[in-house]
Subunit: 369 residues, 2 copies
């Protein structure tokens, strides 16, 4: 067959876009890099489907010691990337790259790793398979062990969906995880948190421009993404934040400025299908899948010294939800952080929240285990 007759060269408008997925400059090295890529030839998901050339984007800070005994793993939350966790890495912080080798992996579906928007047909966009927290954690395990030869993690920590991954790590690979710090997230997704996922999902899928997940322009789903952002605003913080206008401390000049500048600006650039992929994963998070639904047995497996770290006003993953988990974890403490920012305490809009998180990470790392 001559070169000009290969399908790749056939004149087909939009073919390049279809072959590589949807273009979205938001998910780029420029915005979220630098990051590296770790590819797996064929990765079988827990739900049975296979992702070919499944790729995990990740960033590292510091150097792995010769003994490979200074590694920390820090997965990210819903709608985030590894870039967002970098604010907790620095020379003056607990996660000091002079001391630790810090790995920030990106979720499958998170936009930088293999995701609905960057996957070609027939499994891209609205056809992307359901992914579980356990899929991410198994992929991260391959990255950690095969790429770096690490057999022991000094700390696994994460916020929200990052906490869900932290729990999955501590239950699935208990001998590898020395310390665990789930922040504002639970071992099994609370029912109310699942209702939030449902509402967020409907916000997107009820936008006619979503087109069953087969839009050609993610930004055309603007109304759905904004509705989704505003539902997050509703549940993501606390009543006190709004009552006392504590958002002014974060530099927002008016309520409108806060709504557009924080909530819409955060979510509007994103890919709707990527969000829906993470949302499904979030809703179905449950470490007790490995113990036939017995949460106490699953959490009883954890060997890590564990700091269960809720934000006290969190409406999505409540203080009480964390208390329930903590009681079932053998070597654990509850370390609530008081903030009007609710679930979003992690962003450090109030610098004292961030200091408190950083201090807690430091205290846990200082514990000998």
């Amino acid at each position: 067959m001559s070169e000009e007759h290969t399908p790749a060269d056939a004149p087909s408008p939009g073919a390049s876009k279809i072959q590589t997925g949807i273009e979205n400059d938001y998910y780029s090295q420029e915005v979220h890099g630098p990051f590296e890529l770790f590819s797996m030839d064929a990765f079988e998901l827990e739900e049975g489907e296979t992702l070919r050339n499944c790729t995990i984007a990740y960033t590292t800070f510091g150097e792995l010691s010769d003994e490979k005994d200074n590694a920390v793993l820090f997965p990210h939350m819903y709608s985030g990337t590894s870039k967002d966790m970098e604010i907790y890495v620095g020379e003056e912080m607990a996660l000091d790259p002079n001391e630790y080798f810090i790995v920030l992996p990106n979720q499958i579906g998170g936009g930088l790793s293999t995701s609905p928007h960057n996957t070609p047909p027939p499994v891209g966009q609205g056809d992307f398979p359901d992914v579980r927290i356990s899929d991410d954690v198994r992929a991260q395990h391959k990255l950690i062990t095969e790429e770096f030869g690490i057999e022991e993690l000094q700390l696994v920590l994460g916020w929200s969906m990052g906490a869900q991954q932290t729990y999955e790590w501590a239950v699935r690979y208990p001998e590898m995880v020395k310390r665990a710090m789930p922040i504002s997230g639970t071992a099994r997704n609370p029912v109310l948190s699942g209702l939030l996922v449902d509402a967020l999902r409907t916000a997107i899928t009820s936008d006619p421009n979503w087109e069953g997940g087969h839009y050609t322009d993610p930004h055309a789903v603007r109304e759905g993404l904004q509705h989704h952002a505003r539902i997050w605003a509703l549940m993501g913080t606390s009543s006190a934040l709004w009552r006392d206008e504590e958002w002014r401390e974060a530099g927002f000049s008016s309520l409108s400025d806060f709504m557009y500048g924080m909530w819409d600006e955060w979510f509007l650039p994103m890919d709707p299908n990527d969000l829906l992929c993470m949302a499904w994963k979030w809703k179905h998070a449950d470490v007790s899948r490995v113990t036939g639904g017995d949460l106490e047995e699953a959490l009883g497996r954890i060997e890590a010294r564990t700091y269960v770290t809720p934000f006290d006003t969190d409406m999505v993953f409540t203080l009480e939800d964390h208390e329930d988990d903590e009681e079932m974890i053998p070597d654990s403490d509850l370390n609530p952080i008081s903030t009007p920012w609710g679930h979003f305490g992690m962003f450090g809009f109030d610098p004292s929240d961030m200091e408190r998180v950083d201090e807690t990470i430091g205290e846990l790392l200082d514990e000998s285990v």
Copy 2:
């Protein structure tokens, strides 16, 4: 002009529907009656527009004493009618019709009173004007004084938007209100509660079948109404209700049964524009409009003995919101009721919640003022 040439008799398909608004059997004597009607020739709304033949539906229990000194006023909440408040009226209850003359008025926009769905063009449906809590309270004042000649109310009470009306009564007509019991509702709508309104509104208006409020079949807006119902489920109760499956105590057999049987069944029969009319009113509730925005001055006007009565887990109108109000009301107490049902504690799904509300009403009525 001969009779057959009058516009009313002209053969015009759908004219009868257009002239009387949208048909909806839900808002009927059969479902929500018996109720009476009180009509005002032309009622000027605070926002400037006039409702012609503005009609307030209401129900009464008991008999007005010769001295007209046994009247209680009990307005209703968002999405409700006078029928829903009848569960707190009975011979074995604090609101005993043998003792009190109990008036249950219906909100403008509530479906039984003048509302978007039953108002003909040019002000019906999506063209219905914005209505304020103060409009309802002024209309109720006319009902109370002109229809019944009542000059003094022993008690005004209400839940949620009923609490907003209670506050408006106590601030606007302080000399008439002897006792006030706002239940799970505040004098000025909390910002977070306004964000909930925004999300509920978007849930409805993002349904393509809403058609800018000019649908011909309210049930065609089913997806929007269901999304609206599910957002209420998210914020209307508490995390504990879902975590501990306390809804089972109310007779629901599964989570699905609870979602369909409680939330969808409640909201799906309703008229979308009627809900949006109430929602705007709810969002903009603020008794300090009469004092140029000074809430302390407005609440300082209240002469009524006042029981501020929150449900302790309420996420929409929080305990702290109620505490703030209570501190500004001269002769008041805070009487929180502990329940996992959050804002929906009033429905009595847990009978002990209803007993506690009834007891509190009784205690307030027993106070000599």
